[in-house]
């Protein structure tokens, strides 16, 4: 559901730009914050706030990779696989995480806890290989550090279940 408060934020964004249409990307982020991914209702709300058609909003939402078209896992792990990380053997890291999480790149675990993605150069080549968990960087990732990270995330997820 898109709350009235979120709709107001979208309208405020539309007013902030010289042309309302420019707010379509930030408004889509608001929609995604509300529902975890881009739904029909989210597209509709953005269209109303910005003053363009739903199809037009969808054409933008499907161009940019950071707008989720499906519900993502609670922890979205993006591993950089571009050239500098490749030279520091990110492929072994991706394979290790696939094994550890029991999912392939691009997939979400059945319990909805993890989504494993590969990403294009994340601008952290000096600390390769690198990954992001929900947008936050984890740098100089060895296989051991990757395991320790997943252990920590598992604990966080368990704590969330206990204290919703």
């Amino acid at each position: 559901m898109i709350s009235e408060q979120a709709k107001q934020r979208m309208r405020d964004l539309a007013a902030r730009y010289p042309v309302a249409r420019s707010a379509v990307m930030p408004a889509l982020y608001v929609a995604q914050e509300e529902e975890g991914y881009i739904t029909r209702e989210g597209l509709q709300a953005v269209a109303e706030a910005v003053g363009i058609t739903v199809d037009d909003v969808e054409s933008v939402a499907t161009f940019y990779t950071m707008y989720h078209q499906r519900p993502p896992g609670k922890k979205v792990i993006k591993v950089c696989t571009s050239i500098s990380c490749y030279l520091r053997n990110c492929d072994a890291l991706v394979e290790h995480l696939e094994e550890r999480l029991g999912i392939k790149r691009g997939e979400t675990s059945a319990d909805g806890n993890y989504t494993l993605l590969t990403a294009e150069c994340l601008a952290s080549c000096g600390t390769a290989p690198v990954l992001q968990v929900n947008g936050e960087f984890v740098e100089n990732v060895t296989l051991e550090r990757a395991d320790a990270l997943i252990d920590r995330l598992d604990k966080e997820l368990k704590a969330e279940v206990r204290m919703p």
């Binding site: 054409s59 161009f63 990779t65 950071m66 571009s82 050239i83 030279l87 601008a123 080549c125 000096g126």
Partner: protein, 443 residues
């Protein structure tokens, strides 16, 4: 240590806050600009400094500003912080650590170019950088440094931070404007250039993050001072992003003209090749630039010398490849990037990057044919110069230079079905050895 300009004081605790930034002389350059200069005089000062764009193309900044169409339409500044060229990680550092330097540069540029609305386009994936810039903009608004009648002058400006959402193409200036206007990031045909018809149809100046971060120091110390660093045609310093097979990867600010060898081998910088292996090749300016062989290691890092050596200084992303690197594998990985990031608008780029990755894939995995090597070059020829924007051209750089310098490796793949050097993905036993170097390489 040579003098630091862009990265000066970057490690001072709290320099990301307005208070500490001001303690270290922050916004004094803006005050000086407003107090002592007419806008056009700043354009002249920047021309005199010799500053060239740090995004990739290296176009003289002052000249770019002077091209702005003189009409009564509103003018805009777009600061390009959509850093995503593989091998480049300087703008992210500047935004995270010293966002007010960027904002001061934005404000000086707005004053010089008579712009009243500026946009800072931050790459979506760089969430911390985006938060830092946004917070700094809010601090500056609250302190009266952005808004109406800045520092008591009649100069007013509005600054909007816009977050990208995952599209390399939006680092291309016309795609960036499309994105800002709320559309898919498809490049526009040029001309008209943004300086004439840009954002919302108004004259628009588009500058890279590092370029704008250089301006406060030029205002404070003068154009001649800045021009005293670097070479005759490549003035000043630049943040070189060193990555790949070196002992100490990282960002190093050095005067233009510093030899590649110094950056890679000097103990203060790269510290030599990882695990003391031999140098094989260098990608000197991000993955869109041509590969240089190890024999070019004494080339000075300036626009002219790198061009004379057969490549481009590009974004300043220096990627080092050691002797164990399979060139076919590395080129494949790079082409996959351009295949995934091609916006799909122009057929040569969209289809060409796809077919190049298919062919490189079969070469890499031992199903290649002799004629594939020339077929790759033929595809490159059919992409280059035949698309709206430079992404297609960029995709061909490592393919053509990789084949030119290391053709025998491609032929070996055809003949033997695997690579002639260590890090090949087709060898399970070497894969585990490469896995071991993951631990050795990471700090």
């Amino acid at each position: 240590m040579p003098e630091l300009i862009v990265t000066k004081n970057i490690d001072v605790p709290g320099i990301d806050t307005l208070e500490v930034y001001r303690q270290y002389g922050g916004y004094e350059a803006l005050a000086k600009a407003l107090r002592e200069y007419q806008p056009d005089e700043i354009v002249e000062l920047v021309k005199q400094s010799g500053l060239r764009g740090r995004g990739g193309a290296g176009f003289p900044t002052g000249m770019k500003w002077s091209f702005l169409a003189k009409n009564d339409k509103p003018r805009y500044l777009c600061c390009n912080c959509d850093e995503s060229e593989p091998g480049t990680f300087k703008d992210r550092m500047l935004m995270e650590k010293i966002p007010h330097r960027l904002i001061e540069g934005v404000l000086i540029t707005c004053y010089a170019c008579r712009v009243s609305t500026a946009f800072i386009y931050v790459r979506g994936e760089l969430e911390l950088a985006g938060r830092q810039v946004e917070r700094a903009v809010q601090e500056a608004y609250a302190a009266g440094l952005i808004g109406k009648n800045i520092m008591g002058s009649d100069f007013s400006v509005d600054v909007i931070v816009h977050h990208g959402a995952g599209a390399y193409i939006c680092g291309e200036e016309s795609a960036l404007m499309e994105s800002l206007e709320g559309r898919r990031g498809y490049p526009r045909l040029k001309p008209p250039f943004p300086a004439v018809i840009g954002l919302y149809g108004g004259p628009t100046v588009i500058n890279n993050c590092e370029t704008l971060c250089t301006l406060p120091a030029i205002l404070q110390n003068g154009g001649e001072w800045y021009a005293s660093f670097g070479t005759e045609k490549s003035k000043g310093t630049r943040v070189f992003c060193l990555s790949g097979h070196v002992k100490k990867p990282g960002n190093y600010e050095l005067p233009l003209g510093t030899p590649l060898r110094t950056l890679i081998y000097d103990e203060q910088y790269g510290g030599g090749i990882l695990n003391d292996r031999q140098l094989k090749a260098i990608i000197p300016g991000g993955s869109s630039t041509f590969l240089l062989g190890a024999d070019k290691v004494d080339t000075p890092l300036d626009f002219e010398s790198i061009a004379a050596a057969g490549s481009m200084l590009g974004s300043g992303g220096v990627i080092v490849l050691n002797e164990d690197t399979c060139i076919v594998g590395a080129v494949l990985r790079s082409v996959e990037f351009y295949r995934d990031e091609s916006c799909g608008k122009c057929t040569p780029c969209r289809e060409g990057t796809y077919w190049m990755s298919e062919i490189l894939e079969r070469l890499e995995h031992g199903h290649g044919r002799e004629k594939d090597i020339d077929l790759l070059l033929d595809i490159c020829d059919n992409i280059s110069g035949k698309s709206f924007c430079p992404l297609g051209d960029a995709a061909t750089s490592l393919v053509t230079s990789g084949i030119r310098l290391f053709r025998e490796e491609f032929e070996y793949h055809v003949e033997h079905g695997h690579c002639m050097v260590g890090a090949g993905r087709t060898h399970p036993e070497i894969e585990s050895a490469a896995g071991a170097s993951l631990h050795a390489g990471a700090r």
